[in-house]
């Protein structure tokens, strides 16, 4: 009772075959009207802010400042302004490079570590896992502050490499613990039979586990990518010029031009632009994202 176990109930969460629990609900196909009220409220709370962001991005001038519910003269001008802004394009390039490199490096090292932690006999395994987990709760400022000093000394301040390295602090443990839980789900029999054929554990890892773990690796890559893309504190502390600034910082400073007049239309357009790929990612990979997020699920 109430222990956490290695079983994952989340695979069914997305596909949901006819489970016993579902059958339990057969008599209740008619939902209480209050439930629908809740459903609509939750949908509204999730979607209305998106609508308003898009709405704001399509307005300018009086239409923007009056806060029209529907833009009377929708315009794409804000989007043109964003795409003509060289700093925004640089920021996009920087974000892509940083996120791709960090995710790749983290995944390579994490897959080794996660295999050892999931499968091999090892001393102090619990301690190592706890340590890795605790790193993810570190406040980024405790890394950013000293990195700011170190990087300025050795010339990595305001460079892409200078951002990729500290971002590994959080990408690596996230990748390790997500992958560890995926590796544990791969049936052991497959390795056992590889051992029978005389394979060493490392060969079993390379030839048996890795190919089977491709979905888990993909899920982990998505989660790490989103988290690196989203990260702000390290990015804002360790950069100062458009050449190194990633998207979140560029957008945050879009808004900082003047205290009195905010180019909210343009900022909204920039926000919409960088949100679209993430929305597509969610629509396509919803299952994976959910299973990765709840990889540490709880058993009652």
């Amino acid at each position: 009772m109430s222990t956490l176990t290695a079983e994952r109930p989340t695979a069914e969460l997305a596909t949901r075959p006819k489970s016993p629990k579902r059958r339990r609900l057969r008599g209740e196909s008619k939902l209480h009207p209050m439930v629908w009220v809740f459903v609509i409220a939750v949908m509204g709370f999730s979607l209305i802010p998106f609508y308003w962001l898009v709405n704001t991005s399509l307005k300018k001038g009086a239409s923007l400042s009056q806060g029209e519910l529907f833009p009377s003269q929708p315009t794409l001008e804000n989007y043109l302004v964003v795409f003509q802004n060289p700093e925004f394009l640089l920021a996009l390039r920087n974000s892509v490079i940083i996120a791709v490199v960090t995710t790749t490096v983290a995944l390579v090292f994490a897959s080794f570590a996660a295999y050892a932690l999931a499968r091999l006999k090892m001393r102090r395994k619990a301690m190592i896992l706890t340590l890795i987990l605790s790193v993810t709760t570190f406040p980024a400022i405790a890394i950013a502050a000293p990195m700011f000093s170190i990087w300025r000394e050795i010339g990595l301040y305001d460079t892409l490499l200078g951002l990729i390295i500290p971002k590994l602090t959080f990408a690596l443990p996230l990748a390790i613990y997500t992958l560890t839980s995926f590796f544990k789900e791969i049936p052991r029999e497959l390795e056992e039979s590889a051992y029978m054929d005389g394979a060493t554990p490392f060969v079993a890892f390379r030839k048996v586990i890795l190919p089977l773990a491709v979905p888990g690796l993909a899920t982990t890559a998505i989660l790490v990518f989103i988290s690196v893309w989203n990260e702000f504190l390290l990015a804002v502390t360790l950069t100062t010029s458009p050449e190194a600034r990633p998207v979140p910082v560029a957008i945050a400073f879009f808004s900082g031009t003047s205290e009195f007049e905010q180019p909210l239309g343009t900022i909204s357009a920039a926000s919409v632009i960088i949100t679209i790929p993430l929305v597509i990612l969610v629509l396509l990979c919803q299952k994976r994202i959910v299973s990765g997020m709840t990889a540490g699920a709880v058993k009652g």
Binding site: E12, V39, P49, P173, W229, F232, L233
Partner: protein, 318 residues
Amino acid sequence: MAIKTLLPGRSPSSATARPVSGRDRAERKLAFRMTAPSLVIMALVAAVPIGYAIWLSLNQYSVRTAGLSRFVGLENYINALASHEWWAAFGQTFLFAGISVSLELILGTAMALLLNLAFKGRAVLRTVVLLPYAIITVVSAITWQTMFQPNMGLVTNVLSTLGLPGGDVVWLGEHGYAMAVIVMADVWKTTPFAALIILAGLQVISAETYEAAELDGASKWQTFVNITLPLLRPAIVLAAIFRTMDALRVFDLPFVLTRGANGTESMSMLAYTQLRENRLVGEGSALSILTFLTVMVVSVIYVRFAGGNIRDVAKEEQ
């Protein structure tokens, strides 16, 4: 997200005899070799900087002459702990974490219960709920800024049309209102995370448990309070731990929404401001170490008092 990794054990391999001790030794060696690179990287990118931050925090650095410094011991800490700014940021951060995490757990539980019901359109609801989670925090802040902008915002417009209070308020310009917007932006983005963790907990409660309750004539509310909630406790605690640790590090939202004005500065923001804007390396480092210690103390308290199950599992592992 990750607690499962704390329990790799229960290893079927211990049952399926693979005895040879030479093999064990080889396996341990391999395990060490496979984990070492990651541990070395993490030591270099996490432990070394934090160690260096401690050293920086014990010195005072000249603002005018680069490289000039003197050792001052704990002076930076004493000054910080005696300052109004630190305690204001400390209080603000905990107030933010307390309110937003409570809302996220309550709303998250409600969302999880909804997502656990069988109804047409559940798949759509699940996708919709997940969308805000994928949004970057800075964009979440901007989104809620557009909602509350005077005259331009949806919320401000609706409130003033209905003649309700808040319609003519500059929300980001006053402490309580600014806080409300920051909390809203956080709740919007992160409730899906809490909901999915709690949903995962909900889905493993067996149908028989409910059937027994039904036979005993328990009402829906009684079933929820006496059966569902207690069985959900581990999932809720897990969501609470992850969300609290995250909320105590809050930085992006106040940075974008208020730049820390109107008493919304968080611990991380205060350290950032001292370091980057005021160029006070020693003081900034001391503040970041204090932030670090605060978060660590809270996580230890959580695991000790609320996360008994996590501890049991970790013990079992050894």
